[in-house]
Amino acid sequence: MLGYILRRILAVIPVMLLVAVFVFLLLRLTPGDPAAIIAGDMATPAQLERIREAMGLNQPLHIQFVTWVGQLLRGDLGVSLISNTPVATMVADRIGPTFSIAILTILMSVAMAVPMGVLAAWKHRSAADYAVMTFSVLGFSVPVFVIGYIFILIFSLQLGWFPVQGYTPIGSGVGAFLSNAFLPALTLSTIYIALIARMTRANMLEVLGEDYIRTARAKGAPERTVLFRHALKNAAVPILTVIGSGFALLIGGVVVTETVFNIPGIGRLTVDAILARDYPVIQAMILLTSFLYVLVNLLIDLSYSFFDPRIRY
């Protein structure tokens, strides 16, 4: 097991290196100039050139690449071209909101979706099943920003239960944190509830037809035990995959929700950096999210053996 983990972690290095080279080249080949953002609309071509020179953007590509890799190897993520702030500080400031909302979203989604999926499979072709499926289709089809605005309209503007926008770290108190984080997490949950509920239902349906379930029932096991101990545990592997990759997606791409609720997370940081062609920030963010993706996948793989003892490393 330890050997497997080490091998997986070592395998990350060439992947990250490839990502780094790819991102570096892609960014440099995309039109767009950070100097133009700094200089503003009034700047003359000569002023632009001076700023480019001061930022090192007129250096040949390979020199820029070597400088960047050298910084990375020293553990230095560089300095934002636009705000002159260390990238590591910017990322550290922004990762908290994204992480906490992603975790809350996954918790809320799992808490609701798994029972819904189990119920739908257990009461196959009943009104409950159709209700869960209808909700899933809706949750998956309505765009997140529409759901976000509807929630803001109802829960913030009309009922006044939650603030419209902003973020309070959990360190300021769970109540204060939830007052800001609940609506965005609920908005994001609609997609994940739909996804996880469908996946749970499909796998439960498959498992419920297996011989060992019939055996368990024949032996007089209570229905709850049959459903949750025998069936759900065996249906867990694909569900876990969906939950894990959902979490990784949440970390990397909750831009719309962060924008709608004005949350200072890494999704918005990445998009702002892309719009400003702030290369050091974009590079750091892509590397970070790729690394998280790989890490989450590793954790999912490792957790398989817990649910399915047949899986060995």
């Binding site: 133009a36 609309d41 705000s83 002159n84 910017m90 605005y149 913030s156 006044g160 007052s179 004005n262």
Partner: protein, 531 residues
Amino acid sequence: MFNRPSLAFKTATFVTAALLGTTMLSGAAFAQSTVKAVMHSGLRVLDPVITTAHITRNHAYMIYDVLIAQDSAFQPQPQMADWTVSDDMLTYTFTLRDGLTFHDGAPVTAADAVASLNRWGQKDAGGQVIMDRTASLMATDDTTITWTLTEPFVPMLDVLSKQSALPPFIMPARIAETSADEAITEYVGSGPFRFVEAEFQPGLMVVYEKFDDYVPRDEPADWMAGGKVVNVDRVEWVNMPDIQTAVNALSGGEVDYVEAMQVDLIPLLEGDPNVVVETREPTGMQTMTRMNFLHPPFDNQQVRQAALKAITQEPVLAAMVGNPEYYSVCGAILGCGTPLASDAQTETLTQGGGADEARALLEEAGYDGTPVVLMAPTDMVALATQPVVVSQMLREAGFEVELQPMDWQTLVTRRASQAAPAEGGWNIFITNWMVPEISNPISNPMLNGRGSDAWFGWPEDETIEALKEDFIDAETPEAQVEVAQQIQTHALDNGLLIPLGQYTLPQARRATITDMIQSPVPVFWGMQKAE
């Protein structure tokens, strides 16, 4: 950020207020008033000399002060300093007023002002013109700055008092001695607010606190001039990339002020008695097109003339703004509502009916159907519709138009390319200016005719340069108006720009915010916040 005071804090405040109740009129003395404002963009660059971005300039007006400032009649007025001019118009003497203090506690001296002016003079287009004519700029004592020119420069005070693109802000000499190409790293001014660096999050939130030692002038505030009396304790600029969220936050009372409203969202706020939508300043913005003088077909003056005749402002403005309350047809290249506005040569622009003339001009010029590459940014609300309407009008007059959609970042990079349109260059694009920043022929970037040193489009135009010299030498306001009219006629004849009209940016505020000053720069002095 949504922080409710804790119960302990409320209790402590209550007990303290009760204890002191006998000596104080009310507990309001303890209330700290904070104004939360959503600005038009996030603040990222903090050095007002290195960038011309409006958000950085607005930030600079919070924390720095200027020697002299422009009032609503576009006239220079004393701010940090009074001035005298010698009879030969060669020596300007500025005397700093009493009580000027930097946020670090040091007094403002003439040496600080000289260092700041020198750094600014290397970057600003108007500043460079003054520096070219400067014999000496020195601090003759702690409060006196003596600026001696080699030849008279009539618009000297206009340039020094302008509020865009780079106003000459005064910083401590040790900071102002930073190279003009390198960003400063310490943000100490002597302005009415103090920058709270510990709470600054680039692109997200900027925090300012009232600077208690600031001594405002006695005159009432008028645009950037007059007394900067601060009535609130703290100002927070919150960046919200989504205007709908900003509107919701304003309705919900979480923010107090939205600097730039989108006109089509105004109806959402109109029925709300707690919110006021209004226009910040009467002159607003100019939207306009720029053609590339280097490549066919716009290297031909007749073809540029044809483009001008083909375009009518009204449909462009209607598509862009929609609500006529917020736009006006205006042919003045220096902006309507300014002292130098003129409507010479603008009949077809403002009234239409020029398409036939445009077709005739194109034929006369021998236009061979070379496609015109029109760059259209799709990610800027304020610039997304004009290219579509303009391209249609050009097509109707006989132009072949290739409308190329792209993001704004790509556009600003591509407009710097002097290559042929087929090889990554361009023929025409559209942008917007704040009227005060184009209201003077010396600082209007469209009126720079120095070929490759000029603004994107690179016209080589000796006549406009000569006319600008005439403007500099014009000694009376009447003479200036006369030269400005000649500049307008020539600029439109030669197609240096095609003005597409003027529009205003409405702002929205909670009704609890009052006494906001009308100004082209959003300022936070003067305003009051009722609890």
